[in-house]
């Protein structure tokens, strides 16, 4: 499997990246770990005449845990997430999700930035970032802007990032309460048949806030405001969980593929969300 020929660039700063993007427009693509892009290039499903390798740009490999928020550079790998004790103490759901992505080899190379910027509905980090109400920093010729994860995804592989922009950082408000990232997949390395990211805050036995997002059940990740709202003000009992699942099922829009027909995916989505809420509740 040999990809089509391309020009390779390895700029050493962001200005260099942006000037190549400005010159070649959508004929150019940036690459972090490449573990989503290279397989597509090998299959010749992605045509990338100008490939910009970000590995020498620098400044995008830090994880910083602050008083109110966490910042994660776009070049931070899934392995870095799993390996960072300070991050795990502050936001354990990140490690729980990262451990369910692909396999060890891929996690050494695959990055957070690539995972969230790619726009593949099968990627796990986008739903997770919507659950956590993260924002993405994108840098372009007109400067830097922030885009909420919940506003970023427009359709499969279509995002709010323009062709001449680069996603450089993810910022996550410090999460509180119980958490779970639950994923059903056919085998290690597969994308989710259904996955759910849940954060629940309880006070005095009652849920005061809940955030729920689903992975690979539409052409974008699905943040289900209604599912979270169904839990707020309840003891997160069975009736509330059933209401949250019903609300979530109203928000997803799965399509039939080799992971199963629509009815099966909706069934699995319900099972997975039930498990995720129960686990998040037990940790809240």
């Amino acid at each position: 499997m040999i990809p089509a020929a391309f020009e390779y660039y390895r700029p050493t700063d962001m200005a260099g990246v942006l000037s190549i993007l400005a010159e070649h427009g959508d004929d150019a693509r940036v690459m972090a770990g490449g573990h989503s892009l290279i397989p597509m290039m090998k299959l010749r499903m992605a045509d990338v005449p100008h490939l910009i390798d970000l590995q020498d740009v620098g400044g995008m490999s830090d994880i910083t845990v602050g008083a109110d928020s966490i910042t994660i550079g776009a070049m931070v790998t899934q392995h870095d997430i799993i390996d960072n004790a300070e991050l795990t103490a502050a936001a354990p759901i990140l490690r729980e999700a990262a451990l369910q992505i692909a396999d060890p080899q891929v996690r050494y190379i695959g990055t957070v930035g690539g995972n969230v910027a790619n726009g593949d509905p099968g990627n796990d980090m986008p739903g997770l970032m919507q659950c956590l109400n993260a924002s993405f920093t994108v840098v372009g010729p007109d400067g830097t802007r922030e885009v909420a994860a919940r506003e970023f995804y427009e359709a499969a592989y279509m995002t709010a990032r323009e062709d001449d922009e680069v996603l450089t950082q993810v910022t996550i408000p410090l999460p509180a309460g119980g958490y779970a990232y639950e994923k059903q997949k056919r085998k290690i390395g597969d994308y989710a048949t259904a996955a759910a990211a849940v954060q629940i805050v309880k006070e005095g036995g009652s849920c005061v806030s809940a955030s729920i997002a689903m992975t690979n059940l539409s052409d974008t990740p699905v943040y289900s405001d209604a599912a979270g709202a169904a839990l707020v003000g309840t003891a997160v009992d069975d009736a509330a969980i059933n209401a949250a699942i019903a609300a979530m099922l109203g928000d997803i829009d799965p399509t039939e593929d080799n992971r199963g027909p629509v009815a099966f995916k909706k069934h699995v989505a319900g099972v997975i969300l039930r498990r995720a809420i129960a686990r998040a509740r037990s940790r809240a």
Partner: protein, 164 residues
């Protein structure tokens, strides 16, 4: 398109320099350019792990990296781990515990396992299965692969203790 890049990398301690098109995948560089045929091409779609090598301390599927990305990197393949006259404890254990049947996945398995044991010298069976999840054995000989890695871990820990 004549856009060949000058690439320098180190494979098993030896510096290699060559000109290659950017689209040349590292597995082809190793096997066809450098005649290092230990890493195998199995699925060629980032799933099976037969092409696993160690690059700057990370287990990597060399079918999913362009050689040009590895410019300046230190690469270790199964050939750099041990040879017929100086088997690595993992190679010895795979031999002893029937950790291979057809042997096709073995170079990737052992290369990955060296890194796994480096990060976790005393893995449980579950940790071995999780840490080896990026390597597939078409003969389905997982039971003995796990047993081999456990045996190698015991052996390596005993040798380390004896040396201290």
């Amino acid at each position: 398109m004549s856009n060949k890049k000058h690439i320098t990398l180190s494979v098993n301690g030896k510096t290699e320099e060559f000109l290659a098109e950017p689209r040349e995948l590292l597995i082809y560089t190793l096997r066809e350019r450098l005649n290092i045929t230990g890493p195998h091409i199995g699925c060629e779609t980032s799933h099976c792990g037969a092409c696993t090598v160690t690059i700057d301390g990370k287990s990597v599927k060399s079918c999913t990296m362009f050689a040009v990305q590895a410019e300046g990197a230190e690469i270790t393949t199964i050939e750099g781990i041990g040879g017929p006259d100086d088997l690595h404890p993992l190679q010895e254990a795979f031999k002893e515990h029937h950790g291979l049947q057809c042997g096709y996945c073995t170079p990737g398995m052992i290369t990955r396992a060296t890194k796994l044991l480096e990060e976790n010298p005393n893995p449980t069976e579950e940790e071995i299965r999780f840490g080896m999840a990026g390597n597939i054995c078409r003969c389905t000989g997982y039971q003995n692969i796990v047993k081999s890695i456990q045996a190698a871990a015991t052996e390596m820990n005993a040798a380390k203790e004896a040396a201290e």
